[in-house]
Protein backbone atom coordinates (compact mmCIF):
# COMPACT_ATOMS: atom_id res chain seq x y z
CA UNK A 1 0.00 0.00 0.00
CA UNK A 2 0.99 3.62 -0.40
CA UNK A 3 1.58 5.80 2.67
CA UNK A 4 2.53 9.46 2.55
CA UNK A 5 5.22 11.39 4.33
CA UNK A 6 3.97 14.95 4.38
CA UNK A 7 6.37 17.63 3.22
CA UNK A 8 9.39 17.64 0.96
CA UNK A 9 12.01 15.19 -0.30
CA UNK A 10 14.79 16.57 1.91
CA UNK A 11 17.04 14.24 3.81
CA UNK A 12 15.95 15.74 7.13
CA UNK A 13 12.27 15.25 6.39
CA UNK A 14 12.97 11.56 5.79
CA UNK A 15 14.74 11.22 9.13
CA UNK A 16 13.00 10.96 12.54
CA UNK A 17 13.18 13.94 14.90
CA UNK A 18 15.04 13.15 18.14
CA UNK A 19 12.83 13.21 21.24
CA UNK A 20 9.70 13.57 19.10
CA UNK A 21 9.49 10.78 16.57
CA UNK A 22 11.55 8.54 18.84
CA UNK A 23 8.79 8.61 21.43
CA UNK A 24 5.63 6.60 20.90
CA UNK A 25 2.17 7.35 22.22
CA UNK A 26 -1.08 5.55 23.04
CA UNK A 27 -1.62 3.05 20.26
CA UNK A 28 1.30 4.50 18.32
CA UNK A 29 4.80 3.10 17.89
CA UNK A 30 7.78 5.45 17.77
CA UNK A 31 9.05 6.23 14.29
CA UNK A 32 8.73 8.60 11.38
CA UNK A 33 5.09 9.52 10.86
CA UNK A 34 3.26 8.67 7.65
CA UNK A 35 -0.39 8.74 6.68
CA UNK A 36 -2.69 7.04 4.20
CA UNK A 37 -3.91 10.43 2.97
CA UNK A 38 -2.63 13.88 2.00
CA UNK A 39 -4.35 16.95 3.45
CA UNK A 40 -5.85 19.25 0.78
CA UNK A 41 -3.41 21.82 -0.52
CA UNK A 42 -0.36 20.01 0.81
CA UNK A 43 2.57 18.23 -0.77
CA UNK A 44 3.64 14.76 0.30
CA UNK A 45 5.84 11.86 -0.75
CA UNK A 46 4.22 8.53 -1.54
CA UNK A 47 6.00 5.46 -0.15
CA UNK A 48 5.24 1.92 -1.30
CA UNK A 49 5.37 -0.07 1.93
CA UNK A 50 6.15 -3.22 -0.04
CA UNK A 51 9.30 -1.58 -1.39
CA UNK A 52 10.54 -0.76 2.10
CA UNK A 53 13.54 -2.90 2.88
CA UNK A 54 14.26 -4.34 6.31
CA UNK A 55 14.92 -3.39 8.94
CA UNK A 56 12.39 -0.63 8.14
CA UNK A 57 8.71 -1.36 8.58
CA UNK A 58 5.57 0.78 8.39
CA UNK A 59 3.54 -0.01 11.51
CA UNK A 60 -0.12 1.07 11.59
CA UNK A 61 -1.50 2.60 14.77
CA UNK A 62 -3.57 0.41 17.03
CA UNK A 63 -6.80 2.37 17.18
CA UNK A 64 -8.13 0.14 19.95
CA UNK A 65 -5.31 1.48 22.13
CA UNK A 66 -5.82 5.15 21.27
CA UNK A 67 -3.95 5.35 17.98
CA UNK A 68 -5.09 7.34 14.95
CA UNK A 69 -6.74 5.62 12.01
CA UNK A 70 -4.63 5.94 8.87
CA UNK A 71 -1.45 6.84 10.78
CA UNK A 72 1.73 4.78 10.43
CA UNK A 73 5.09 4.85 12.16
CA UNK A 74 8.08 3.94 10.03
CA UNK A 75 10.85 2.50 12.16
CA UNK A 76 13.62 -0.12 12.18
CA UNK A 77 12.48 -3.39 13.72
CA UNK A 78 14.26 -6.45 15.07
CA UNK A 79 13.72 -10.10 14.11
CA UNK A 80 10.66 -10.21 16.37
CA UNK A 81 9.08 -7.28 14.56
CA UNK A 82 9.51 -4.94 17.53
CA UNK A 83 10.84 -1.42 17.10
CA UNK A 84 14.59 -1.40 17.58
CA UNK A 85 14.90 1.72 19.72
CA UNK A 86 18.67 1.75 19.65
CA UNK A 87 18.71 1.84 15.86
CA UNK A 88 15.86 4.36 15.82
CA UNK A 89 17.77 6.69 18.15
CA UNK A 90 20.92 6.37 16.02
CA UNK A 91 18.89 7.15 12.90
CA UNK A 92 17.30 10.21 14.54
CA UNK A 93 20.69 11.42 15.75
CA UNK A 94 21.80 11.76 12.12
CA UNK A 95 19.13 14.39 11.43
CA UNK A 96 20.66 17.76 10.67
CA UNK A 97 24.11 16.28 10.15
CA UNK A 98 24.12 16.99 6.43
CA UNK A 99 24.68 13.30 5.75
CA UNK A 100 22.08 10.84 4.53
CA UNK A 101 21.66 7.93 6.96
CA UNK A 102 21.31 4.48 5.37
CA UNK A 103 17.71 4.19 6.65
CA UNK A 104 16.89 7.58 5.17
CA UNK A 105 18.14 6.29 1.82
CA UNK A 106 16.12 3.07 2.17
CA UNK A 107 13.05 5.26 2.64
CA UNK A 108 13.92 7.51 -0.31
CA UNK A 109 14.39 4.40 -2.45
CA UNK A 110 10.81 3.36 -1.63
CA UNK A 111 9.33 6.64 -2.93
CA UNK A 112 6.96 5.82 -5.79
CA UNK A 113 4.99 9.09 -5.90
CA UNK A 114 7.40 12.02 -5.53
CA UNK A 115 5.76 15.39 -4.87
CA UNK A 116 2.21 14.06 -4.64
CA UNK A 117 -0.46 16.73 -4.16
CA UNK A 118 -3.36 16.67 -1.78
Amino acid sequence: MIVYIWGSLTSDNFTPRPNKDTVGGPGQQPGLSASDAIPPGRKAQGIDTEKLKRPLLAIPDDITQGGTAGHFSIAPVNEMGDVDREQLDAWAASRGSGKTHEFTQLLLDAVVQPNAKG
Binding site: S8, L9, D12, F14, K43, D109, P114
Partner: protein, 163 residues
Amino acid sequence: MASATTTAFQPVGRMEHLERLAILAESPAAAAALWDDVHESVQSDLALLEAEVRRTIPGVRVDIGRTHGGRFYLFSYRTFSLPDGHVDPVVAGVTFAPAPDGVTVEADVNGEQTGDWIAAVPCKTVVTSRDALLHAAHDSARRLCGFADAVAAALRDPSRNVN
Protein backbone atom coordinates in the same frame (compact mmCIF):
# COMPACT_ATOMS: atom_id res chain seq x y z
CA MET B 1 10.97 -15.00 -52.07
CA ALA B 2 10.76 -13.77 -48.51
CA SER B 3 8.94 -15.83 -45.94
CA ALA B 4 6.49 -14.31 -43.49
CA THR B 5 9.16 -14.25 -40.81
CA THR B 6 11.82 -12.48 -42.87
CA THR B 7 12.05 -8.72 -42.74
CA ALA B 8 11.44 -6.98 -46.03
CA PHE B 9 13.26 -3.80 -45.07
CA GLN B 10 16.93 -3.07 -44.88
CA PRO B 11 18.16 -1.40 -41.69
CA VAL B 12 18.59 2.35 -42.01
CA GLY B 13 21.32 3.99 -39.97
CA ARG B 14 20.07 7.02 -38.06
CA MET B 15 22.17 8.61 -35.36
CA GLU B 16 19.99 11.48 -34.19
CA HIS B 17 18.56 11.26 -30.68
CA LEU B 18 20.76 8.31 -29.78
CA GLU B 19 22.59 10.43 -27.21
CA ARG B 20 19.25 11.01 -25.50
CA LEU B 21 18.69 7.30 -25.13
CA ALA B 22 22.19 6.62 -23.96
CA ILE B 23 22.85 9.37 -21.47
CA LEU B 24 21.18 7.74 -18.48
CA ALA B 25 22.06 4.21 -19.55
CA GLU B 26 25.77 4.88 -19.53
CA SER B 27 27.94 3.71 -16.69
CA PRO B 28 26.72 4.58 -13.20
CA ALA B 29 29.73 6.87 -12.88
CA ALA B 30 28.76 8.82 -16.00
CA ALA B 31 25.15 9.18 -14.85
CA ALA B 32 26.33 10.26 -11.40
CA ALA B 33 28.61 12.86 -12.99
CA LEU B 34 25.69 14.21 -15.01
CA TRP B 35 23.53 14.64 -11.91
CA ASP B 36 26.48 16.23 -10.09
CA ASP B 37 26.59 18.85 -12.84
CA VAL B 38 22.83 19.36 -12.74
CA HIS B 39 22.96 19.78 -8.96
CA GLU B 40 25.75 22.35 -9.27
CA SER B 41 23.76 24.24 -11.88
CA VAL B 42 20.69 24.38 -9.63
CA GLN B 43 22.75 25.47 -6.64
CA SER B 44 24.59 28.21 -8.49
CA ASP B 45 21.21 29.82 -9.18
CA LEU B 46 19.74 29.13 -5.75
CA ALA B 47 22.67 31.09 -4.32
CA LEU B 48 20.94 34.15 -5.73
CA LEU B 49 17.74 33.22 -3.93
CA GLU B 50 19.68 32.82 -0.69
CA ALA B 51 21.26 36.26 -1.13
CA GLU B 52 17.84 37.85 -1.63
CA VAL B 53 16.35 36.12 1.42
CA ARG B 54 19.35 37.16 3.54
CA ARG B 55 18.74 40.78 2.61
CA THR B 56 15.34 40.49 4.33
CA ILE B 57 16.27 38.07 7.12
CA PRO B 58 20.01 38.40 7.86
CA GLY B 59 19.99 35.65 10.49
CA VAL B 60 18.36 33.01 8.33
CA ARG B 61 20.00 29.58 8.36
CA VAL B 62 20.47 27.98 4.95
CA ASP B 63 21.37 24.36 4.30
CA ILE B 64 22.25 22.96 0.88
CA GLY B 65 21.21 19.41 0.07
CA ARG B 66 20.42 16.78 -2.51
CA THR B 67 18.66 13.44 -2.46
CA HIS B 68 17.83 10.70 -4.94
CA GLY B 69 15.42 7.81 -4.74
CA GLY B 70 13.40 5.10 -6.40
CA ARG B 71 11.32 7.32 -8.67
CA PHE B 72 13.40 10.46 -8.90
CA TYR B 73 16.89 11.05 -10.17
CA LEU B 74 17.66 14.14 -8.14
CA PHE B 75 16.15 16.63 -5.73
CA SER B 76 18.50 19.59 -5.35
CA TYR B 77 17.47 22.08 -2.70
CA ARG B 78 18.19 24.77 -0.15
CA THR B 79 16.42 24.75 3.20
CA PHE B 80 15.73 28.08 4.89
CA SER B 81 15.05 28.13 8.62
CA LEU B 82 15.10 30.49 11.59
CA PRO B 83 17.45 29.87 14.52
CA ASP B 84 14.61 29.40 17.04
CA GLY B 85 13.29 26.47 15.04
CA HIS B 86 9.59 27.07 15.74
CA VAL B 87 8.45 27.75 12.19
CA ASP B 88 8.47 24.98 9.60
CA PRO B 89 11.60 25.39 7.45
CA VAL B 90 11.03 26.46 3.85
CA VAL B 91 12.51 24.34 1.08
CA ALA B 92 13.21 25.66 -2.41
CA GLY B 93 14.27 22.98 -4.82
CA VAL B 94 14.10 21.28 -8.18
CA THR B 95 13.08 17.63 -8.68
CA PHE B 96 14.11 15.60 -11.72
CA ALA B 97 12.05 12.45 -12.22
CA PRO B 98 11.72 9.90 -15.02
CA ALA B 99 8.82 10.37 -17.44
CA PRO B 100 7.72 8.27 -20.43
CA ASP B 101 9.06 10.85 -22.86
CA GLY B 102 12.02 12.25 -20.95
CA VAL B 103 12.58 13.81 -17.56
CA THR B 104 10.04 15.79 -15.57
CA VAL B 105 11.43 18.94 -13.99
CA GLU B 106 9.48 20.35 -11.05
CA ALA B 107 10.59 23.46 -9.16
CA ASP B 108 8.76 24.70 -6.11
CA VAL B 109 8.90 26.19 -2.62
CA ASN B 110 7.23 24.28 0.23
CA GLY B 111 7.17 23.78 3.95
CA GLU B 112 9.66 21.04 4.78
CA GLN B 113 7.47 19.13 7.25
CA THR B 114 3.96 20.40 6.56
CA GLY B 115 4.18 20.48 2.76
CA ASP B 116 2.30 23.76 2.49
CA TRP B 117 2.59 25.22 -0.99
CA ILE B 118 4.37 28.57 -1.01
CA ALA B 119 5.28 28.95 -4.67
CA ALA B 120 5.75 26.80 -7.76
CA VAL B 121 7.06 26.98 -11.29
CA PRO B 122 4.94 25.14 -13.89
CA CYS B 123 6.18 21.57 -14.27
CA LYS B 124 7.78 20.64 -17.58
CA THR B 125 9.18 17.59 -19.32
CA VAL B 126 12.45 17.76 -21.22
CA VAL B 127 14.25 15.30 -23.44
CA THR B 128 16.94 13.26 -21.75
CA SER B 129 19.98 15.06 -23.06
CA ARG B 130 22.75 16.70 -21.08
CA ASP B 131 22.14 20.11 -22.61
CA ALA B 132 18.38 19.96 -22.08
CA LEU B 133 18.78 18.91 -18.44
CA LEU B 134 21.33 21.60 -17.67
CA HIS B 135 19.20 24.24 -19.38
CA ALA B 136 16.11 23.12 -17.48
CA ALA B 137 18.04 23.11 -14.21
CA HIS B 138 19.24 26.65 -14.77
CA ASP B 139 15.88 27.94 -15.98
CA SER B 140 13.86 26.37 -13.16
CA ALA B 141 16.21 27.40 -10.36
CA ARG B 142 16.48 30.90 -11.80
CA ARG B 143 12.71 31.22 -11.68
CA LEU B 144 12.69 30.17 -8.04
CA CYS B 145 14.85 33.22 -7.31
CA GLY B 146 11.77 35.36 -7.92
CA PHE B 147 10.15 33.95 -4.77
CA ALA B 148 12.52 35.42 -2.19
CA ASP B 149 9.78 37.58 -0.67
CA ALA B 150 7.49 34.56 -0.39
CA VAL B 151 10.23 32.56 1.37
CA ALA B 152 10.84 35.37 3.86
CA ALA B 153 7.13 35.87 4.50
CA ALA B 154 6.62 32.16 5.14
CA LEU B 155 9.47 32.09 7.63
CA ARG B 156 7.85 34.97 9.51
CA ASP B 157 4.35 33.49 9.45
CA PRO B 158 3.49 32.38 13.02
CA SER B 159 0.67 30.19 11.72
CA ARG B 160 3.38 27.91 10.30
CA ASN B 161 4.73 26.99 13.75
CA VAL B 162 5.41 23.29 14.08
CA ASN B 163 6.70 23.15 17.66
